[in-house]
């Protein structure tokens, strides 16, 4: 986990990239705010998919390091979002219990 928060100077392995991707998705999911959560999920997926097409080594390293920086911000902000609760919006199910009841 902690190695995923560090920048690299050589080509990161596939496992490492995927690990970072999953951690960013997980952090995005933690946002209490619906709109932020959806945005960061959409954005993370888009960025990683786009960067999968990169072939040049230094571009891959730069993209990875950039994502590492974004991940640290995301982690902090997801934690802050979890500390301040507001009512859910009209497009959000009220939580797992009622969601299950609905089905």
């Amino acid at each position: 986990m902690s190695s995923l928060s560090k920048s690299v100077s050589t080509l990161p392995s596939r496992t490492k990239v995927l690990g970072l991707y999953h951690n960013m998705l997980r952090s995005s999911l933690k946002f209490d705010n619906y709109n932020f959560r959806e945005y960061f999920l959409r954005k993370t997926r888009y960025e990683f998919r786009k960067n999968m097409e990169l072939t040049e080594e230094d571009k891959i390293i730069a993209a990875y390091n950039d994502a590492v920086k974004q991940f640290t911000v995301l982690k902090r902000q997801a934690t802050i979002s979890e500390m301040y609760h507001f009512d859910k919006t009209v497009v959000e199910p009220q939580g797992k219990v009622s969601g299950a009841e609905k089905n």
């Binding site: 932020f36 959806e38 995301l74 859910k88 919006t89 497009v91 009220q94």
Partner: protein, 471 residues
Amino acid sequence: MLRNTVLRQNCRLSFKRLLSSSHKPWLAAPAAADKQPIVDLGASTSTANIVPPTGAAILKGGFAKDTTYGTRPIYLDMQATTPTDPRVLDKMLQFYTGLYGNPHSSTHAYGWETEKEVEKARKYVADVIGADPKEIVFTSGATESNNMAIKGVPRFYKSTKKHIITAQTEHKCVLNSARHLQDEGFDVTYLPVGEDGLIDLEQLEKAIRKDTCLVSIMGVNNEIGVIQPLEEIGRICKKNKVFFHTDCAQAYGKIPLDVNKLNIDMMSISSHKIYGPKGCGALYIRRRPRVRMDPIITGGGQERGLRSGTLAPPLVAGFGEAARLLIQEYDFDKNHIEYLANKLKTGLLSIEDTILNGSADHRFNGCVNISFAYIEGESLLMALNDIALSSGSACTSASLEPSYVLHALGADDALAHSSIRFGIGRFTTEEEIDYVINAIHKRVNFLRELSPLWEMKQEGIDLNSIEWSGH
């Protein structure tokens, strides 16, 4: 019984509006508008005390909330303000936790570290519009920037120049600044706009006089989202050697803007319209050729003496980060907003008797303004308490007065009253847009069922042919 009352009240309301639409000139003629302060416009209309009759209570019966879902409305009022991006907050928190130095303290490290961050922010803000960081002056927002430019420049040149030009659809802070100058003895021309909301370039050129000092035309209109032809306006201003100021509070970072390509001398920018903090903004002021102005706020001489007072580094750095993100996310945001706007427009304009207000081509996608004929915009807003919308700019929608912007476009009272603005942004989701389309369809139908005018229209009665006298 209940329904009867509703009908009657609704009837009275609409009839009155129809009657009062017998062509009040409003802002049509600049000369006529000269005397009245803009904020008081139409205070005499008799409808102000009438509450939309149906009320939310009845409507709620018709549309019981699904209690398995939350209650907070969907936010679709991005022209009023935008949510602060978490990445912006992350930047700002550093200044509330450790970096508290005064950026103007030049004798110690606390000052230096904050100053460095302020200058970084200045560069990010400048980069979005192709400006030099030295040309950016931080202010408290676009309102202050507009006041600064519109009052400051003519006052500086007042010994030789006595005239400024602006448009009828500008934001209130521009119009009221211009009004203020009139009290000081300046002449102001308020250019009319066409049905599409755009100014006529020929008219602009004709309005320019020997003693014209300043032209102020906004980039993107906050109510209808139309984009004025800034490049052509810039060219005309340059040719005639008058300063060109543009209020780009709604345009900055959302449409391509280059101050050199567009010949812009001054540009007002607001932080809270670009996912930055509220209470911060900037004025771009060209250095070559130099634009000179009388500062409104004097004091310690900060910001090149044009805007004294200690800067607010948390806000400035947040604003800078928001600007940096605008460049980084430009395509991603643009494509997303365009996709959602097209979906919303198609979805809503498929309802009978709806009109998209403002030019269909020269517009920023994130602002969709639609009129729903035979419905009170205010009743629709009340019926839509699960969606945060506005029937115009934030400052006018508190009253029941129809929008002066839509009036300037030539819309009659009834149509101006039935308009709603939808603001889409970075954090809007497709799910929200689907919800909104569905909700509006249902409630427009519901309200029209209650409307006697709609009934008459369905029966093929031409509403314009009816004599309402004796009512």
